[in-house]
Every structure is written in structure tokens, then in C-alpha cells.
């Protein structure tokens, strides 16, 4: 049977198993919306700004592991989506974004609401397509999902001119894709894997450094098995948190700019480093020259060859899928009679415990004002570590990462690579829609939340009972912190004067709003939010210490052992 392009788009999404589509209509996609109206296979979630549609789809993907899907109209709809696309790209999130385009004869004519979407998004997508012929539509959408989800995941844009949504052709959703130009490697090189296993067993001061690839590649079980088998100290990047259970004693906490002393020092001073799905980001190792001062051998497992030896030379590169490669490594370790050098290992752990004993995450627990760290600790207790925590960008993000002890993957959902303020609330929506019964908390700042606050309206429409945990310090705190440390306390434009009354604002959108200004009220408020108001969106406005800073901190351009401590 012949279908219109619009019918084909909707059929493809249905056949791809999509359950939630996040979007916003407009002229170029009206034909598609008309078909969305007629179908029941998936729900369409109408956001209040296209950026939020993309963040919600992105977080949906982060929480579920499935490809997130968003749809926007041409022109301003498309440009509004760009921040969301770049956010997903930097964190390697599988996503398909469908954008409307002006009709093919109008392309290039500066037509109404025309932008070169393929051109604008080229540097921030894994791939993109402009579909010029309805006969290519189904195969292109299939490819888009395939490319988004395989290898190193990433967002794919499919730009569809309006006339293509009207044209008709036979519909057949392809069952599989084969592309001569795209064949990601998943199985690691067996010789390299052997070398890696050997090197791990020879280590005197080993260190395991895990990243977002462990979460993206669903390899938490393998990481846990490997770490427990070897008894080696383990750290994680911001993006890998939850890949290895944080409360475990073998875990040294997050590393990097705001990482713990023990993680950063062990990273700097280890003799064998196993990097797993982590990309030696500048926020992680700081200055690569400083990092290279200490001699160590590095094994690096990553599905993307371009992540390997990009910022740091490695000795044993292994291109492949984390889970598959670690399975092989573990097999070899079981078969090998060599035991790790217990004596050296003990000495190494003794050293690490000395670093750990400095208790770098301590903070003033006696203060009369609410400490932001305390709110996160209480959030962890009240939710028993079982919530999905999304966050925005700033100090609150770092405190959430440091003090919520993530022990499962896909629970910590934040924008690491792009650092997009405004991500948190739409992200929480995406997660809550994926898991209606789960506890979902959006940890945010008064600066960030205002970047997509309009989504409180979407939350009302869908009755999403997520909790907004606003750590309201009255400052663009992360900016303020840098100005305090590096700009002699000249606080240029980091004070958010004339903040709205967040309680009234929450109420205006039909939600529950509570302001908390005393430490003793923190826990009861959280209990109410997750108890009494379980089924409501609760906006918790915690007035926190405006001068609190995130520690430890490695100043930009410095090395891992050059931390500023409290």
C-alpha cells in the first residue's frame, strides 16, 4: 500500500518501537502531526520549548538505554533544538531528532522559516540526513536509529522537507541496515586483551578509571566483577557514576576537577592505569603535561578509536565494546595462575587510605544556614539511594555528584560535556515518563532552573510527580566561585537579583511549592515531597549558604595533585 511521507514517518517510529515522542509542532511538520493525531502506538509529549523536547528525549535515552526521539518544526524550531542536540552529542547519547524543512523547491530561497539544519548541526551530530525523496524516507529513518544506537552512540538528525511528507510511496520498514562506510568494532583485539590482562597482574600500584562508556555500554556488571576479582582501587568520571557502586570501599569517589583527593592522587601516582570508556577529558586529568610527569602504563578500552591517544598517549589501546572486552579480560584473569602482587597492593592501599583519611568532602555540619551538601545527603537518605537524579549545571551539580552515592548505572543524569544549564527539568520529565513509578529528583540552581522553567507547565499536563530540589544560593554559584578564587572577588554579573517567588511560581503552574530555610526542616520537607505529596510535583526551594564552594578543586590548567582544599 502507498503511504504519504507523513504516514511513513509515524509508521517508522511505531515499527521502531518508540513509545514516547517529545516535540513541538509548526508549519513544516503539520502533516506529520496530523498522523501523530491519528495513531495510538506512541505518546507525543508537547513541551513548551523545543530545547526541552530534545533534553527530555536525551534523558529518556540515558535512563532507559533506548534511543530518544524528538520532533521539531523548521527554522526556529530547529535552531531551538540545537543546544539539546549538542548536549547529547558531547555525552554520546543515542537520539534521533526529526526536523521539518521547507518544501524541496523552496530550499535555498531564504524561504519562510528556512534554516540549513544539516549545515547548522553538522558539527554536533553523529550524522545527519536531508531526505529529498519520499522513497528514501523509511530507509533513512532506519539508518538514523541504527547509527544513533551503535558504536559510540550519538544524536542523528533527519531533516524532512514538507513536500516529502505529502508525497506517496510504498512503505516497507527495513529489517536491518548494512552500510559499507559504517562498521563499528565491538570485539577487541585478542592480542591486546592478553597484554592488558598481563599488565594488570603485574601492577604494583594499579588504578581503574571508568567513564560514561561503562554506562552507555551497559557494562556495570563486568566492571564490578573485574574490580572485585582484582581488588584494585577504582574511580569514575562524572559521566560514569553509578557504573560501580559508590558506597563500596574499593571505590575512591569521582576524580577530576572536583574529584576526591584519593581518586586524583591515585590517578596521578599509579603505575598501571586501566581506562574504561573514559576519554581523559580536561576536567578529569587537568593539564596533560602535568599528568605525564609521572610514569605509568595505560590500557585504554574505548569503542571509538579517536578517543584513544587523543589527549594522552596509551600503551595498550583496545578498540571495542566495554562489556565484550571486559568479558574477555575477566576470562583471561580467571585462567591465569599469576596472582596480583599482594605486598605492593597492600602498601598501595595503605597510601590510598592516608589520602582518604583527609576526608576531603567534609563540610561544616554545625552551621546555622542550610549547607547544600547536607540537602543532597538527606536526599540520598530519604530516597534510600533509589532515585533517578537529574541535574542542571553549576555547584549544585557537583554536590549532587559528590554526595549522592550512586550505586546503579543510569540513575545520574546530567550534562557533562557541554554543561548545559536548563537541562535538569526537561531531563527529569523524560525520566519520569519512562519510569512513571520511580522517584525522580531534579537537583538545580536558581540560575539553571530559570532556563527551562516553562516546562513546569508540561509537567502539569502529564501529572509528572518529579521533585525539584532547588539549591538556591542566590548566585550563579559556580561562576561566583571562580570569581572568588581567580578574579579577586569581583563578582561580575553572578548575583541573581530579583529572583521570583519560587513557591508562588510553582503554585501558579499548579504544583506544590515549599521554601526551606533551616537545616532542621530539610529532612521533613524531603519526606513530605516523597511521602505526603508523592503524586504531586513538589518544588523545594532550599535557601542554602550563598558563599559555599565546591571542594576539592583543581584550577583550570593545573595538574591532578594541585588541588585546592577546604
Amino acid at each position: 500500500m502507498e503511504l504519504t511521507g507523513a504516514e511513513i514517518v509515524v509508521s517508522c517510529l511505531r515499527d521502531e518501537g518508540v513509545k514516547h515522542l517529545f516535540g513541538y509542532p509548526g508549519g513544516a511538520v503539520l502533516n506529520i502531526y496530523d498522523e501523530i493525531y491519528k495513531q495510538t502506538a506512541f505518546k507525543h509529549i508537547l513541551v513548551r520549548h523545543e530545547q526541552a523536547a530534545v533534553h527530555a528525549a536525551d534523558a529518556y535515552a540515558r535512563a532507559t538505554g533506548q534511543v530518544g526521539v524528538a520532533i521539531v518544526t523548521s527554522g526556529p524550531g530547529a535552531t531551538n533544538a540545537v543546544t539539546g542536540i549538542a548536549t547529547a552529542y558531547m555525552d554520546s547519547i543515542p537520539m534521533v531528532v526529526i526536523s521539518g524543512q521547507v518544501p524541496t523547491p523552496a530550499i535555498g530561497q531564504d524561504a519562510f522559516q528556512e534554516v540549513d539544519m544539516v549545515g547548522i548541526t553538522r558539527p554536533c551530530v553523529k550524522h545527519n540526513f536531508l531526505v529529498r525523496d519520499v522513497r528514501d524516507l523509511a530507509a533513512t529513518i532506519k539508518k538514523a536509529f541504527y547509527i544513533a544506537a551503535t558504536g559510540r552512540p550519538g544524536p542523528v538528525v533527519v531533516d524532512i522537507p514538507k513536500d516529502v511528507t505529502q508525497h506517496r510511496c510504498h512503505y516497507d520498514y527495513p529489517l536491518s541496515v548494512s552500510m559499507r562506510s559504517y562498521n563499528p568494532t565491538s570485539k577487541g583485539h585478542s592480542g591486546q586483551i592478553k597484554k592488558a590482562a598481563q599488565m594488570l597482574l603485574e601492577a604494583k600500584r594499579p588504578m581503574i578509571y571508568t567513564g560514561g562508556g561503562v554506562v552507555l555500554g551497559n557494562a556495570a556488571a563486568q566492571v564490578i566483577e573485574l574490580v572485585r576479582l582484582l581488588g584494585y582501587p577504582t574511580t569514575s568520571t562524572l559521566m560514569g557514576l553509578g557504573g560501580y557502586p559508590s558506597p563500596d570501599p574499593l571505590f575512591l569517589g569521582m576524580l577530576g576537577m572536583h574529584g576526591t583527593i584519593e581518586a586524583n592522587m591515585a590517578m596521578q601516582h599509579c603505575d598501571v592505569l586501566l581506562a574504561v570508556g573514559a576519554r581523559f577529558d580536561d576536567r578529569v586529568i587537568g593539564n596533560p603535561k602535568h599528568f605525564a610527569k609521572e610514569a605509568r602504563r595505560i590500557i585504554h578500552i574505548d569503542v571509538d578509536p579517536s578517543s584513544i591517544s587523543k589527549r594522552v598517549r596509551v600503551d595498550v589501546p583496545i578498540v571495542g565494546d566495554v562489556a565484550q572486552v571486559l568479558d574477555e579480560v575477566i576470562k583471561l584473569l580467571h585462567a591465569d595462575a599469576t596472582q596480583p602482587d599482594t605486598q605492593s597492593l597492600q602498601a598501595w592501599w595503605a597510601q590510598i587510605e592516608l589520602w582518604r583519611a583527609q576526608d576531603c568532602l567534609k563540610y561544616d555540619r554545625t552551621a546555622a544556614v542550610i549547607k547544600p551538601q547536607f540537602v543532597i545527603e538527606k536526599l540520598y537518605e530519604v530516597t534510600q539511594g533509589d532515585a533517578y537524579v537529574t541535574s542542571d549545571v553549576g555547584q549544585h551539580q557537583m554536590w549532587a555528584a559528590q554526595y549522592y552515592q550512586f550505586d546503579k548505572p543510569r540513575r545520574w543524569i546530567n550534562s557533562g560535556g557541554l554543561g548545559t544549564m536548563g537541562f535538569g527539568l526537561p531531563a527529569a520529565m523524560g525520566v519520569q515518563l519512562a519510569f512513571p513509578d520511580a522517584m525522580v529528583a531534579c537537583v538545580t540552581g536558581e540560575g539553571s532552573i530559570q532556563m527551562n522553567i516553562q516546562e513546569l507547565s508540561t509537567c502539569k499536563e502529564w501529572n509528572l510527580p518529579l521533585k525539584v530540589i532547588l539549591l538556591n544560593n542566590g548566585y550563579l554559584g559556580m561562576v561566583r566561585q571562580w570569581q572568588e578564587f581567580f578574579y579577586e572577588e569581583r563578582y561580575a554579573e553572578s548575583y541573581m537579583n530579583s529572583l521570583p517567588d519560587f513557591v508562588k511560581l510553582a503554585e501558579a503552574y499548579g504544583h506544590v511549592g515549599i521554601t526551606i530555610d533551616k537545616p532542621e526542616d530539610v529532612e521533613p520537607a524531603l519526606r513530605d515531597a516523597f511521602g505526603k505529596y508523592k503524586d504531586r510535583l513538589v518544588f523545594l526551594n532550599f535557601l542554602t549558604d550563598p558563599r559555599e564552594n565546591v571542594f576539592p578543586m583543581i584550577p583550570a590548567g593545573k595538574g591532578l595533585s594541585e588541588m585546592i582544599l577546604l
Binding site: V118, H127, L130, Y182, P305, S306, K310
Partner: protein
């Protein structure tokens, strides 16, 4: 170091801008880039001349390979190869110069394609250094216009890049 990279990519619209965009976005140096369809019309062949340290060249080849439309990448500098560039150059040719320009063209195995009262238009093919040498041999005030294609490269002997 100077590297000459060959690549085969799907002959799709926008393919060239993906490569050009990659080089500018990642601040890679690009000395020349040539592209045209191959005998298989679904494929384009590109030759890129670039400069960079070993680490940078490694990243360039990895990043090129990562482009979804790229089918194959080869750093020709890794083995022996042939590299050719074509130049059209218009020179002033009046009086004695006419004979002298003709001689110079012959020495460089060039061809005079077009003649006017005052000018010759010469075609020259060879490695870039030969074209440079020709230009160096002509008094700069007599060079009226030049156009160069940028290098095309191919491996020597049995070194074949095909899919």
C-alpha cells in the same frame, strides 16, 4: 610533517562539507583538497594535503574514518606513492620573452595551451615542488595569473585503494 591522505567516500551531497567542516572545527591544517567521483559513480575520491605532528595526523585519520560517509582512509605518506598536481599559468610573453618562455616551458615539460599577442597560457603537471620551481624560474612581474588543482595522489605498485 606534510602528509597526503586519500579517502573514498559515499558520493552524497554534503560529503565535501563534512570533511572541510571537520578540518576547520578541529583546527587541522589543510593545504589542499581535491575531490571528484571515481569510476564507480557512487564513490568520491579525495586527496587532502595536510601538516601536523604524528599525533595530530593520527587524530586526523581517526576523525576522517569516524565520518559516517567515509568508506576508506589511507595515509599515502606511509608508503611509496605518486603525487601530481596541475597548474595553469598565464605569463607575459612579449618580444624576447616569447622565446625564453617557450624554452622554459619545454624544460619543465609543460605545454602552451593558448597564445595571445602578449601572453602565453601554460599547462604544467608534476609534484608541487616542480610547479613551485617553474614559478621561481619566471620573473614574478611576468606572472599574470596562476591556478593550481592541489595534489592528487595514488600508491605505487600493488598498493591499491579500492573497496
Amino acid at each position: 610533517m606534510r602528509h597526503i591522505i586519500s579517502l573514498l567516500m559515499e558520493n552524497e551531497s554534503g560529503a565535501l562539507s563534512r570533511v572541510a567542516g571537520l578540518f576547520s572545527a578541529r583546527a587541522y591544517n589543510i593545504e589542499s583538497l581535491t575531490v571528484a567521483p571515481t569510476e564507480d559513480a557512487t564513490l568520491s575520491r579525495m586527496t587532502i594535503v595536510t601538516r601536523g605532528s604524528t599525533d595530530v595526523i593520527e587524530q586526523i585519520t581517526k576523525q576522517l574514518n569516524k565520518l559516517i560517509d567515509v568508506v576508506k582512509v589511507q595515509d599515502l605518506t606511509d608508503g611509496s606513492h605518486i603525487e601530481r598536481e596541475m597548474m595553469l599559468v598565464k605569463v607575459r610573453a612579449v618580444g624576447d620573452q616569447r622565446e625564453e618562455m617557450k624554452r622554459l616551458t619545454d624544460i619543465f615539460r609543460g605545454r602552451i595551451l593558448d597564445v595571445s599577442d602578449k601572453t602565453y597560457t601554460i599547462e604544467l603537471t608534476g609534484p608541487g615542488s616542480k610547479l613551485d620551481a617553474f614559478l621561481a624560474a619566471v620573473d614574478p612581474s611576468n606572472i599574470l595569473e596562476t591556478v593550481r588543482t592541489g595534489a592528487s595522489g595514488i600508491g605505487r605498485g600493488d598498493r591499491i585503494m579500492k573497496i
